[in-house]
């Protein structure tokens, strides 16, 4: 039932996206592919923060791991892109497991700091091991559409198809998980760790699992992103990207997969749109180059004021009766783990 329903929704969305990919021009197709690529990372992050109650300010690092893994596999092993996407997801998942083991012992600001460090430190590895990762020049990623689609089939459209297909698979799997016993256990751990462990949940293992799942999504997303941009460089995975992913997750609505789609769309489409807007209205270059950043800040503030539960939370409130899912979107940010009052005893 669960599987059939989610797959049916995904197939319907896939058909719509397929039609859309033919309607758009090639430049828009490329942007479209980029949005689809980023959705995976934002969706993984929104599950990590909104459902499991852990924070990561360094999710760009898992995208980097996925994309470098993919680039190396394509370069040296010449694997089929489908296998590469799965393999890079698994590599990132392993990295997520290691981070998760550390994360399970850290709370709130300490976890934020640790993940931040990962995002800051990891890209410098590309410089350190230039022979493997190509240093600042990076690694090129080149794939071609299968011959069956014809010699004139545009590469951009192939990017859209691949990105959308891989991301829809990710979203279906995430939706299954979130609705399952695992998702419920994550939310229980998010809301009250002590009560969760008394109910028999292995809190640390669930927290690590959430990091593994979330990092796998970011890894797949990184692979798609590398494919669309045709190159992997350390510059692509700056702290700005990680913060952008976090912003997208919060904007869309923490814990909401559909929200992740809105968030990723804003993350990718807003800056060039605002840039075009600024230049076409004849602002001086000093102004126009700063307009996107300023407008981005304004959008962030406005959305948070109007829709504290994010865009998807706002839509849900506007369109129908309150759903219970959006109940605790910010618990990860204001958590304080062993909060249970025990002071009455033990102070004899």
């Amino acid at each position: 039932m669960t599987m059939l329903r989610h797959v049916a929704i995904a197939v319907a969305c896939g058909a719509l996206l397929l039609l859309l990919s033919y309607r758009l021009d090639l430049y828009r197709d490329l942007q479209f592919a980029e949005v689809a690529a980023e959705v995976g990372a934002v969706a993984g992050l929104t599950v990590l923060i909104g459902i499991s109650g852990q924070i990561s300010i360094g999710h760009g690092a898992f995208m980097a791991i996925g994309s470098y893994a993919a680039a190396l596999l394509l370069l040296h092993q010449h694997w089929n892109i489908g296998y590469v996407i799965v393999a890079s997801g698994l590599v990132a998942a392993a990295a997520g497991g290691i981070m998760g083991i550390a994360a399970a012992r850290l709370r709130g600001p300490y976890l934020a700091g640790a993940t931040l460090m990962l995002a800051v430190a990891l890209p410098s590895l590309a410089d350190k091991y230039q022979s493997v990762f190509g240093g600042d020049q990076g690694l090129s990623v080149s794939i071609t559409p299968p011959a069956a689609l014809g010699a004139t089939f545009p590469l951009q459209r192939w990017f859209v198809w691949l990105s959308c297909a891989a991301t829809l698979v990710l979203l279906v799997l995430l939706a299954n998980l979130v609705r399952s016993r695992i998702g419920r256990s994550w939310r229980a751990v998010r809301d009250d760790e002590i009560a969760a462990s008394l109910a028999g949940l292995n809190v640390a293992r669930l927290q690590i699992l959430a990091f593994v799942v979330s990092a796998a999504c970011a890894g797949v997303s990184g692979t798609l992103y590398a494919m669309v941009t045709t190159i992997v460089t350390p510059d692509a995975f700056t702290l700005t990207l990680s913060i952008g992913l976090l912003t997208a997750a919060v904007l869309g609505g923490l814990g909401s997969l559909l929200g992740a789609v809105w968030g990723a769309a804003i993350l990718v489409l807003a800056p060039p749109f605002l840039q075009d807007f600024a230049t076409s209205h004849g602002f001086s270059s000093a102004v126009s180059s700063n307009v996107p950043i300023a407008a981005y800040g304004v959008v962030l503030i406005v959305v948070m004021l109007v829709f504290p539960a994010g865009i998807q939370g706002g839509l849900r409130r506007l369109l129908g009766p309150a759903a219970p899912v959006a109940a605790a979107p910010f618990s990860a940010l204001r958590r304080h783990a062993p909060a249970r009052e025990e002071k009455e005893e033990g102070t004899v």
Binding site: I182, A188, D192, I194, V203, A327, V348
Partner: protein, 275 residues
């Protein structure tokens, strides 16, 4: 276990031993402070065992030791003859032990039914990959957990609240839901931390009857301030004061014990002086 010993156990119901909780010589120090000093007690199956004592006597610390939140410096805990001293909190459910919290501790982002389903987690059969692929197997498992959750809610008279969020409930209703979450795991040892705190006088008889009923299927250990309730529901009471057991026996014996009176009057005199 052979037939002979189980018969012997059935006859000697109030005796500690198989099927019962045995706590021996527990000592807990926080820095230079001795919170529990060589505390020994036992709880028999089919009975409600109470732990009372003035504020700061070490009651909650004792419960935290039983749950593995606090590691004792000395002593042993055995339930049904199995050593529990080194277990972590999440492993207790597997050994048939459930605890309710003084602060209730419901998951506020989960519906009442989901809260109780979390408690039934130990009986879930579908694993990670079944969940990931949303298999029919996992769906059936979910339906089964939900049925069990509704049954547990029904047992505490809260089945009609199944789809509410904890934030929408009255205090007494939340207490019931928390109890259902503990019961759904079908525990053989149930540790209740102040089950009556914050309840009206009028709700007490119902809570007392419910706790008495639970003792039919489990060993029940209760910590509670409400003396009238404890005297009516417990078969055996241990009195803690300054981390030591100063008296134990039936409610009547404990009430008649001069040491208990002194501990409570002393505590009252102190708190009167404080206030």
């Amino acid at each position: 276990m052979n037939d002979g010993s189980s018969v012997a156990w059935d006859e000697g119901e109030s005796e500690p031993g198989a099927g019962a909780l045995d706590v021996g010589g527990i000592t807990v120090r926080f820095g230079g402070l001795t919170a529990l000093d060589d505390v020994s007690l036992s709880a028999a199956r089919g009975q409600v065992t109470g732990i009372i004592g003035p504020n700061g006597a070490g009651k909650t610390t004792l419960l935290n030791v039983l749950c593995g939140f606090v590691r004792p410096q000395a002593g042993s805990i055995a339930f049904e003859g199995k050593e529990l001293t080194r277990l972590r909190p999440h492993q207790l459910a597997r050994h048939g032990i459930a605890r309710t919290l003084q602060g209730i501790g419901l998951f506020r982002g989960l519906t009442v039914a989901e809260n109780v389903m979390v408690g039934a987690n130990g009986s879930a059969r579908a694993g990670f990959f079944a969940a990931l692929f949303g298999t029919p197997w996992s769906d059936r498992d979910e339906q089964r957990l939900r049925r069990r959750a509704i049954e547990a809610l029904d047992r505490v008279g809260a089945a009609d609240l199944a789809d509410d969020l904890p934030g929408e409930l009255a205090h007494g209703q939340r207490k019931r839901v928390a109890l259902a979450r503990a019961l759904v795991a079908e525990p053989r040892l149930l540790l209740l931390d102040e089950p009556a705190s914050g309840l009206d006088e009028g709700e007490l008889p119902e809570v007392g009857a419910l706790i008495g009923e639970l003792a039919g299927s489990a060993t029940v250990v209760v910590i509670e301030h409400r003396m009238d309730l404890m005297m009516s529901i417990c078969q055996r009471i241990f009195v803690l004061d300054f981390g030591k057991v100063i008296a134990d026996g039936t409610p009547a014996q404990v009430q008649a014990d001069p040491a208990v009176t002194a501990a409570y009057l002393g505590a009252e005199r102190e708190s009167a002086a404080d206030g």
